[in-house]
Symmetry: C2
Subunit: 306 residues, 2 copies
């Protein structure tokens, strides 16, 4: 194989009670990437369409992730990467993770798959570190593994694929407000009350149980974030209005996607997910804020060949 064309999915990190550990992968929103093996060693970003992003390999997340992967390999050829960037950077649905995941997945395929999924996540988070300042895996893991994923821990890095209930749909609204990941991080308190932590981990444990038992009602009761959402939601005008409206429209729950400003909702079935999209859109329409809407089933495969 000398060339591979990929779909690099958008992802939702945190998923309410799973701050820094949970993520899920979207089916209908993502970038396209073309990776070509070439005789010249090294990695070059040869084309980016859709967004203004750095073409220099060392300043591009796909480039950095690819370089991390190739660092210890003794090969006399290289790779060219073309990106059709459909996920807006800064939207909170794993734009940089999609690029990082795509680059390492694609090159690994061309090389004959010498690396396992955990290693791919390790490489990809080095791209993530360039974009957000921290090497977090909660978008990269679902982008590579698909479905619901858990970053069980970092020392050592361990990522798990959880079960995904089959009728689950995600709706995501991206209001055109800028929330920088660094700002979203700076509002976080570094110390939290034990009592709130217990509520949070009770909800997270319940949510994992709900994924395995495919209990949508339980899932709904667990989609609460005691800790991060109250700190970050002031950065997103209209957040609680959306939360209230989507619940009334039948969503199981909602929260901040990653570090925002996108807001996600989960629903049982496509019809509700579409209704949820409508009410989300109406709120920002009333505010006079532009937005993008995504309605998607859960992509249980992750990055895939097109």
């Amino acid at each position: 194989m000398n060339e591979i064309k990929l779909f690099c999915p958008a992802t939702i990190a945190n998923v309410s009670c799973g701050f820094d550990v949970l993520g899920l992968c979207l089916e209908s929103t993502g970038d396209e990437m073309l990776i070509r093996k070439v005789s010249t060693p090294g990695v070059r970003i040869t084309k980016i369409i859709g967004q203004q992003l750095p073409m220099e390999t060392e300043k591009n997340v796909a480039g950095v992730a690819a370089l991390a992967m190739l660092k210890d390999l003794d090969i006399d050829f290289g790779f060219e990467i073309e990106i059709n960037k459909k996920i807006k950077p800064g939207s909170g649905i794993g734009s940089s993770a999609a690029s990082a995941a795509g680059a390492v997945y694609g090159i690994n395929q061309i090389l004959g798959a010498p690396f396992n999924q955990t290693q791919l996540v390790e490489f990809a988070i080095q791209g993530e570190a360039l974009a957000s300042g921290t090497a977090h895996a909660d978008n990269v893991a679902p982008a590579l593994l698909g479905g619901f994923t858990l970053v069980k821990g970092y020392e050592p890095l361990e990522v798990l694929k959880l079960n995904t209930p089959s009728e689950l749909y995600a709706t995501v609204i991206h209001p055109q407000i800028e929330v920088k990941t660094a700002d979203a991080r700076s509002v976080l308190k570094q110390s939290i009350p034990l009592k709130k932590a217990i509520v949070q981990w009770g909800n997270l444990a319940g949510l994992v149980s709900a994924l395995y038992s495919e209990d949508y009602d339980l899932l709904s009761r667990c989609l609460h974030d005691e800790i991060i959402e109250p700190m970050r939601s002031p950065l997103i005008p209209g957040f609680y209005k959306v939360k209230q409206a989507v619940k009334e429209a039948g969503a199981l729950g909602s929260g901040i996607s990653g570090s925002g400003p996108s807001i996600f909702a989960l629903s049982k079935g496509k019809d509700i997910a579409q209704e949820v999209a409508k009410v989300m859109g109406n709120i920002y329409k009333d505010f006079g804020v532009d937005y993008d809407l995504h309605i998607s089933s859960i992509n249980t495969q992750g990055v895939k060949e097109l």
Copy 2:
């Protein structure tokens, strides 16, 4: 039915990373309880053997739990309770929970089961509150539901039964050291670092996943307590020595049972659980500290009729 004889199981609360939310139920250790319907209204504790405990209904956990249950019922008869107390109070394996759970389960059966499991847990934790000062459900829930249980939350109270891997065995050593629940609570810091909380909830989410996927290796990797164990372990001499030794003996992991002083270990298979018991015993033998040992499969039923 006018009389019921029950096995009221010992339980392990917290289970390392699940402080205040996780619990599991033992098969081979527990009290026996006899509950008799009598014509005189009210609840009387008529006999306690095995331990010195209050006979006055309002000062006995079984009595308080029973009274909580009967409070709003319009009945013209009452109950007598006899307890053969085999679980030592203050051992950290749910002695008071066993009594509270037995009382409400048994009376509910005699009444024709008007209350559901969550209601029974609600009543039983009022007995627990008498014993420990807090109405916690992490022993009562596994005693009533059996298996691994999750206290998903208290507002409203929601208890879930998780899956239990079939080959799992628990070993518990109760060194004869006194650790009062109130003291074990007072060493807890009320504020914790967000970073440690994230590690903890990553492990807990992984543990729940391991229970459903019956992945013993993953279970082992998740049996860590970043937060509570470092605060409480100084109250239990020999704790880290036991932890090290049981790991070497093949245990999946170990931790403080409830608020101690008992130490539990989980193992795959009875043989390892027995070997673990041996190394646990040897350590306290060397210390010259008396101990009780329990080796048990997981009781997936909870309180049961004898």
